[in-house]
C-alpha cells in the first residue's frame, strides 16, 4: 500500500511541513532582531547601582488572563466551590447507583451461559487464590469444589456437629439451625461418611443408617429438603449463598465470609460455575 494514499498520513505530513516552516520563520526573525535590533523605550526612574530598567507595558492578552484568573478565583472561593461543593463520595455513590441499575436491567433474566461466564469471572478473581484456578482446592489447602464432600469432612461433622463448621450453635444459617454432635460413632459413622462422600451410591449399611439418622433433616435423597439443611449431594445455590454469607471454619481450613461483596446474581452465577466443575463426575 502506498502510504501517501492514507488521509491521516497526508495530514500529518502537511502538519509536519507547516511546523517546520513556522519554526524556521520564527528563528530567522529573532536572529535578525538579535543582530540588528536596538533597545528603545522609556527608562524607569529607579536604577540599581547604575543598572536601569525599561518600562514595558504588559501584553494585553496576558493582562486579561491575569485579571480574569483573579476574578475567577474570587468567584470560585466565594460562590463556585461552596455552592456546588464537589464530593468524590457523592460521585462514587452516583456511579454505583447507575451501575447497579444497569446491571440489574441487563441481567434480569440471565441465560445459563451468561451465568457461567459471570461465575467464572467472579471465581477467578475472588475465589481462585484459595480454591485454585481449576477449583480443586490446591492440594487440600481449601475445599475441592469439583467434588461435594470428603469422607474426613463428613466424619468430622458427625463427631463435632456444627462446631466442625465454625460455630457449635450453627454456622451456616439454615432454618434447622445447628447440627448436633455425636449422632453416630465408630463403624456406623464410618459407613455413613463413606456413603455420603461417595455420592450416595449403592445400598447397604451406610444407606440405611443415613435414612434412619440423617434423612429427617437432610432429606431422604440428601438434598436438604429445599434448603432446610445443607444439600449434601451438590453445591446448590443455597449452600454457596450460605457459605459466602457466613464463612466456614472446618477441618480443611477457614473460609472467610464474603458478606455484601457479591450481588445475588453474582452469587447465583458463581454457584452455577461451581456446579459446572463437577459435571464430569
Amino acid at each position: 500500500m502506498n502510504w501517501l494514499s492514507d488521509n491521516v498520513n497526508r495530514l500529518a505530513l502537511l502538519g509536519a511541513a507547516a511546523i517546520l516552516i513556522i519554526v524556521i520563520g520564527v528563528v530567522a526573525k529573532y536572529f535578525k532582531q538579535i543582530k540588528e535590533g536596538k533597545s528603545e523605550g522609556v527608562l524607569k526612574e529607579e536604577n540599581w547601582d547604575g543598572i536601569g530598567e525599561y518600562k514595558n507595558n504588559s501584553p494585553i492578552g496576558w493582562s486579561l488572563a491575569f485579571i480574569g484568573t483573579i476574578v475567577w478565583g474570587v468567584w470560585y472561593w466565594l460562590v463556585g466551590y461552596p455552592l456546588n461543593a464537589y464530593s468524590q463520595i457523592g460521585e462514587y455513590n452516583k456511579e454505583v447507583k447507575a451501575y447497579q441499575a444497569k446491571f440489574e436491567s441487563k441481567w434480569a433474566n440471565p441465560s445459563k451461559e451468561d451465568l457461567l461466564g459471570m461465575g467464572e469471572g467472579v471465581f477467578l478473581v475472588q475465589c481462585s487464590p484459595c480454591h485454585g484456578i481449576d477449583g480443586t482446592g490446591i492440594e487440600g489447602k481449601a475445599q475441592d469444589l469439583t467434588h461435594r464432600l470428603l469422607k474426613k469432612e463428613v466424619l468430622d461433622v458427625i463427631h463435632r456437629g456444627s462446631a466442625a463448621l465454625g460455630n457449635p450453635n450453627g454456622q451456616l444459617g439454615y432454618p434447622l439451625g445447628m447440627m448436633p454432635p455425636g449422632l453416630l460413632s465408630g463403624a456406623d459413622a464410618e459407613a455413613v461418611a463413606s456413603y455420603v462422600a461417595g455420592g450416595f451410591k449403592g445400598s447397604g449399611k451406610g444407606a440405611d443408617l443415613f435414612q434412619n439418622t440423617c434423612a429427617s433433616c437432610h432429606g431422604p435423597d440428601g438434598r436438604g429438603m429445599n434448603g432446610m439443611a445443607p444439600n449434601l449431594r451438590e453445591y446448590d445455590d443455597t449452600i454457596v449463598q450460605h457459605v459466602l454469607e457466613h464463612g466456614k471454619h472446618g477441618i480443611i481450613g477457614r473460609m472467610p465470609s464474603f458478606k455484601g461483596r457479591l450481588t445475588p446474581v453474582q452469587e447465583k452465577a458463581v454457584a452455577v460455575y461451581i456446579r459446572s466443575l463437577s459435571e464430569g463426575e
Partner: protein, 227 residues
C-alpha cells in the same frame, strides 16, 4: 508598583511570611477536621502487629502494594469499602504506597487467612500460579524485633497520646493493653502462638514456644489486622 518592597527588606520578609503561612494554613487546617479524627472503632496496633508492620516496612512491601482503596466501583468490588481518612489515625507513617505492582492490601484481612499467607509468602506461585511476587522464605527464620516495636508503641503513647492502656469505647475494659515490656511480650507471645497454629506450620509453632516470634508470624498478625 512594588519596588518600595524591594527597598524595605523587613516588610518584604513579612510579606513572604504572610503568603507562605496562608498556603500552610490551607494545608494544615483540614487535618483538624472531624473526618481526620480516628474513625469509630479504630484501635492502635498491638505489640505483635506493630512488629509485623515494621517487617512490612523493612521488606518494602509498600513498593509493590498500596493500602488505599479509592472510591471507584472497580476498586470497591475487588477490595471492599473505600478507605477513610480516620482509619489511618494510628499509622505512623501511613503506608498508602504509590504503586500497585500487586493488589491493594488495605482490607486483605477480610478475605485471606493465616495459612494462605504462610503458603503465599513461602512460595507465591504455589497458590497464584502466575505470581511475580518474590518469595520471602527468610522471614520464616528471622526473629521479629519486639523491643523496637515496644519502644515505638511506648513513644507514641507518651508523645502523641495514642490510647494504649485506655478504655476507648467506655465498656469498662482496656481496649489495647500495653503495660510493661514483660507484660506486652507475654501477650504478644500468646497472640503469636494462635497465629502460628493457624498457619499449620510446626516450625513456626515450635519457634514461638521457645519464646521467639518469627517475623512471618508478626507480619501475618499485621495483615490479618488490615480490615
Amino acid at each position: 508598583m512594588f519596588s518600595w518592597l524591594e527597598k524595605n527588606p523587613f516588610f518584604f520578609a513579612v510579606g513572604v511570611f504572610v503568603v507562605i503561612a496562608f498556603a500552610g494554613l490551607i494545608e494544615i487546617v483540614p487535618d483538624f477536621a472531624q473526618q481526620s479524627r480516628p474513625v469509630v472503632g479504630a484501635k492502635p496496633y498491638s505489640l505483635l502487629e506493630l512488629a509485623g508492620r515494621q517487617v512490612y516496612i523493612k521488606e518494602s512491601c509498600n513498593a509493590c502494594h498500596s493500602q488505599l482503596i479509592r472510591p471507584f466501583k472497580s476498586e470497591t468490588d475487588r477490595y471492599g469499602m473505600y478507605s477513610l481518612n480516620g482509619e489511618y489515625a494510628y499509622d505512623r507513617p501511613f503506608l498508602w504506597g504509590s504503586k500497585r505492582t500487586g493488589p491493594d492490601l488495605h482490607r486483605v484481612g477480610n478475605y485471606r487467612t493465616s495459612d494462605w499467607h504462610a503458603n503465599h509468602m513461602w512460595e507465591p506461585t504455589s497458590v497464584v500460579p502466575g505470581s511475580i511476587m518474590p518469595a520471602y522464605k527468610h522471614i520464616f527464620k528471622n526473629v521479629a524485633d519486639l523491643e523496637t516495636a515496644y519502644a515505638e508503641a511506648l513513644t507514641v503513647k507518651k508523645v502523641f497520646n495514642v490510647p494504649y492502656d485506655k478504655d476507648m469505647n467506655g465498656d469498662g475494659k482496656i481496649d489495647v493493653p500495653l503495660g510493661s515490656f514483660k507484660q506486652a511480650k507475654q501477650r504478644a507471645l500468646q497472640y503469636a502462638l494462635k497465629v502460628a497454629q493457624e498457619t499449620k506450620r510446626k516450625d513456626l509453632v515450635d519457634m514461638v514456644k521457645q519464646g521467639k516470634v518469627p517475623e512471618i508470624v508478626a507480619l501475618i498478625a499485621y495483615l490479618n489486622r488490615l480490615k
